[in-house]
């Protein structure tokens, strides 16, 4: 039976029917022949498929983790993940804005394919998420936390076993007492602070599934989407002020008081107090989230699931804190495009505690998780599985990727598209700015635009060709 026929048949069966059929076929000794992937899914092989916990942070600058070398931030949970797994030092989003990045993470596709191009474009479900693929292959799945994609309320995702999220304030929620929606029903938050609330739901789901599995191959996947560090940042009371006395190293080009209130930065939720105050609060909420990540890790290990549970941490965007005189996430600078990304996969990663230099992307998450679960990666996904790189530090990574961005009102960044290679970045803007060309090796802070210079002219044809290849004729520009 072909894989496609397999899938069509499986799609038409409920899980219970499939179990029954497999049971019958197993008795007849035909299970593995007829449904190889289902045989795996239903324990046809002795090794159980791994559980997956995917944790997503919000606007988390990749440098703001202890193990990434940050001078003062306390992130013992993420540090532990990195110690027991690997940290990727060059991970990027392909569209530097919340909703498109989140859709890319779920679908494994560039924004020009999945259709969520900015924070005003609704999610239509035109592409299947990796959660649904997992569910179709026998995983119990839970989406817990921030959804934040436009549309009428939350999407209809009947394949989820648990859907806990919120629509309050356009899906941004609130740090305290956020009204929740659990499987379509509105209910008040059970915990005061949002990271505790969503982590509790995740732990409950995990423990329920652990009890239910009872030796069977019945893996789960939890997609846990946190609110930190989205502004306006409010930490739990016991963490407030923890960074008040640390020396900050914010860029000299910004001023302490008015920068956060000028140039529409006021709409970034950083209006009150000084810019330094806002940065400290941002660090506090990252620490708050990390505390609950550590709590979740403890529970994973205490429950005996640690050896068979893959834990991933990723940020949806980076964050500029005053570099290049800008604040926010939209500009194609490294600070807003680069993401924190850590994977813990016991037994799979042979060199825990090491670092990966290969470029990884947000669109790689879906293919990687499916590959980890032993599920074929759909061809419509643009991303690549990182499984070979996780297993072997020496495996070569990608050489370039497409960066695309559609203007998002009311923020003042024009649409752009470009390409980032291992050594250079080239960006074309729809209007208002000349192109950017940066040598990322000799100018890692992206201060010297080589476009229009002699060096730039030499590089331009190559980079334009790479852009052409990467974009495959997709364009963000409205007159294309």
């Amino acid at each position: 039976m072909t894989t496609k026929t397999n899938r069509l048949l499986l799609d038409s069966l409920s899980r219970r029917d499939a179990l029954k059929m497999m049971g019958a076929l197993s008795v007849a000794g035909l299970g593995e022949l007829a449904f190889p992937e289902v045989a795996t899914a239903l324990g046809g092989k002795s090794k159980q498929r791994p559980n997956i916990i995917f944790i997503l942070g919000d606007n988390h600058n990749a440098n703001l983790i202890g193990c990434a070398g940050h001078p003062f931030i306390k992130t013992p949970g993420m540090d532990r993940l990195a110690r027991e797994g690997v940290i990727f030092e060059k991970t990027f989003n392909t569209t530097s804005l919340c909703s498109p990045s989140r859709a890319s993470i779920l679908t494994g596709a560039y924004a020009h394919r999945h259709g969520v191009r900015n924070n005003h474009t609704p999610w239509t479900g035109q592409m299947t998420t990796f959660l649904e693929h997992l569910s179709n292959n026998g995983y119990d799945t839970a989406f817990i936390g921030k959804w934040h994609m436009p549309g009428k309320g939350l999407p209809d995702m009947p394949f989820l076993d648990l859907f806990v999220s919120y629509t309050y304030r356009e899906g941004q929620g609130s740090y305290f007492n956020c009204p929740m929606i659990v499987n379509g029903e509105e209910m008040p938050s059970r915990r005061e602070y949002i990271t505790e609330e969503v982590t509790d739901w995740a732990i409950e789901f995990m423990e329920t599934k652990r009890t239910e599995r009872n030796g069977k191959d019945s893996p789960f996947c939890i997609y846990l989407s946190h609110r930190p560090g989205h502004p306006p940042c409010e930490a739990p009371k016991d963490l407030r002020g923890m960074y008040d006395n640390v020396k900050l190293d914010l860029p000299k080009e910004i001023d302490s008081w008015w920068f956060g209130k000028m140039n529409q930065n006021v709409f970034q939720g950083i209006m009150m107090g000084s810019y330094e105050d806002q940065y400290r609060k941002y660090c506090e909420v990252i620490t708050a989230m990390d505390r609950d990540i550590e709590h979740l890790l403890d529970k994973v290990d205490e429950s005996g699931l640690g050896d068979n549970t893959i834990v991933v941490y990723l940020g949806d965007n980076g964050m500029q804190w005053g570099t290049h005189g800008r604040h926010g996430i939209r500009e194609p600078y490294e600070e807003s495009a680069r993401l924190p990304f850590i994977v813990r996969a016991p037994g799979l990663i042979q060199d825990p505690g090491s670092r990966r230099e290969q470029m990884a992307l947000n669109i790689d998450m879906a293919p990687t998780l499916l590959d980890l679960a032993g599920i074929p990666v759909p061809t419509e996904m643009d991303g690549k599985s990182l499984l070979p790189i996780l297993k072997d530090i020496g495996v070569e990574g990608r050489k370039a990727f497409l960066m695309e961005f559609w203007k998002y009102y009311p923020e003042n960044t024009p649409s752009y598209m470009g390409v980032r290679t291992e050594t250079h970045k080239y960006i074309e803007f729809e209007k208002g700015r000349e192109p950017w060309l940066f040598d990322l090796i000799n100018d890692p802070r992206e201060l010297n635009n080589l476009f229009g210079t002699a060096d730039g002219e030499k590089l331009l044809p190559i980079l334009k060709r790479i852009l052409q290849e990467q974009s495959a004729n997709a364009s963000v520009f409205s007159n294309s």
Binding site: R117, N118, H120, T121, P122, P150, R169, E170, Q172, P232, K252, E253, D255, S256, W257, W258, F259, K261, M262, N263, Q264, V266, F267, G269, G325, W406, K407, Y408, Y409, P410, E411, N412, T413, P414, S415, K431, G432, R433, S478
Partner: protein
Amino acid sequence: MNKQEMKRAVIYPVSTVFFIMVLSIYMYSFSKTLNNDNLHQALAFFFGTTYFLAVALGTPVIYSFACLGGASLKLRILAISITPFAWATKECIKIFESHSLLECLYWYLNPLNIWLIMLMALEAGLADLYCRRLKKNRGENIRVANLSSLLTVFISLSLFIAAYSWGKGENIYVIFLKGYRFLFGSGL
């Protein structure tokens, strides 16, 4: 009003506040180019403050001059609007880098501008009461506690506080974005 009175009551005060705003914008931007960080911080703070004062607190100054100089209510309202409107227009022009003309016009309705209008109304109401007090002290037969001035103060203050208190301004911003999507969709 004759020309001389117009100059004293309206043109000079408006021009002064407007000039302070323009100078502050220029000096604030200039301060970022300085290598001396202490000087940069000091100038940025000073001129950022004067910038804010000109836009947000120029109203009572201009209104008082206009009112005491005999300007009509319409002229007073026009006078206090010039600098804030110029500032709002500057902000609109900025986002023209990325967005269409209509979207830039919608920008006039953003929450910050709405608060500014409420603030201006509040300041004008208070300035009006102050001017009435001054006029009465000069011997004019005028009621100080004028109903329309008091109502202006009360309503604008209430709205200003309520709009901020409701989700610290986030909820107002959400409404602004919903309005944008209703008119423009995704903007693409």
